[in-house]
């Protein structure tokens, strides 16, 4: 093989080597360029899920609060009914005592 031929092969190899490196740099640049969008979409996904979770928590709490309130109201109604059924004997006793106090 002649010297010019050897030189040509080496130059071609150098060119190929440069192309390989340039291709790698382009891939890296593309990767870096896409990074902010990847981050934004990842954040968006996490925050969307958290917003749904927050909404669920508030709705559940409101429902639980309403159930508790209903239970309290029910118990109170029972107590109030029991009060209005205060036995006649006690009412009479209270009336007699009040009368006695007033006339004393």
């Amino acid at each position: 093989m002649s010297s010019p031929e050897i030189m040509r092969r080496i130059v071609e190899a150098e060119k190929e080597s440069k192309r390989i490196l340039q291709e790698a740099e382009q891939e890296i640049a593309k990767m870096k360029k896409e990074l902010p969008n990847k981050i934004a979409s990842m954040r968006q996904e996490i925050l969307r899920e958290v917003a749904q979770q927050r909404e669920r928590l508030l709705v559940e709490a409101e429902k639980a609060g309403a159930e508790d309130a209903e239970q309290i109201a029910l118990e109170t109604r029972k107590k109030v009914e029991a009060l209005s059924r205060t036995r006649e004997a006690r009412r009479k006793q209270a009336l007699e005592k009040a009368m006695a106090l007033l006339l004393s």
Partner: protein, 206 residues
């Protein structure tokens, strides 16, 4: 010669491929590291939002419970109050009947007058009664008997002007400056806190 040239060419290409792979690996590592850091930040932010939502939810539930308890307490107290007031109203009706036809009413009336006379330290006093009691007193010695029970001798006159009361008497000094109201209504007003407490004690004793 040809084979050593081929080797040289292969070396050049392999070296650049290796370097390219290294560069890509390094860049990928940086990207993954940045993504992981950003993810951790977002998760931390999400945790804060959830923690705050839990507090908000707990507060909302507590607010509803507290509101319901407060309403229940007011309702129960109002009902209790109604039951007590009903007894007090029964007492008022009973006093009306008592003043109308109970034989022991006269005794109470005389005691009221005596109480009024003791409260008004005046030589001359005026005694005011309800219309029914004026009729009951007229032509009897009841006033004189009552005056006799007081410690000091008094000059007492029965007022012709009736008072709008259920029963009892109002004793006024001669100059009108001192007045002792010994009627049912006055006693009820004066004793109401004690009566309410006593009625409640009997009604709601466990």
């Amino acid at each position: 010669m040809s084979s050593s040239l081929e080797k040289l060419v292969e070396d050049i290409i392999r070296e650049s491929k290796t370097k390219a792979e290294e560069l890509k690996k390094q860049a990928l590592g940086q990207v993954e590291e940045t993504l992981a850091k950003e993810r951790a930040d977002a998760v931390r932010e999400a945790d804060l939002i959830i923690r705050s939502a839990k507090s908000e939810a707990d507060a909302e539930r507590s607010r509803r419970i507290s509101q319901a308890k407060q309403q229940a307490r007011l309702l129960y107290l109002a009902e209790k109050n109604k039951v007590v007031r009903d007894v007090l109203n029964d007492l008022r009706s009973r006093l009306v009947r008592f003043a109308q036809d109970d034989p022991s009413y006269s005794q109470f009336l005389l005691k009221s007058i005596a109480r009024g006379l003791e409260a008004v330290p005046s030589e001359a006093v005026k005694i005011a009664l309800s219309e029914r009691d004026i009729r009951r007193f007229k032509g009897t010695k009841m006033l004189e008997e009552t005056l006799a029970t007081t410690r000091t001798p008094r000059k007492a006159v029965l007022s012709d002007k009736p008072i709008a009361r259920t029963g009892g008497a109002v004793v006024t000094s001669g100059d009108g400056k001192i007045r002792a109201d010994c009627t049912f209504e006055a006693r009820l007003e004066l004793m109401e806190p004690r009566l309410l407490a006593e009625i409640s004690r009997i009604l709601f004793a466990s």
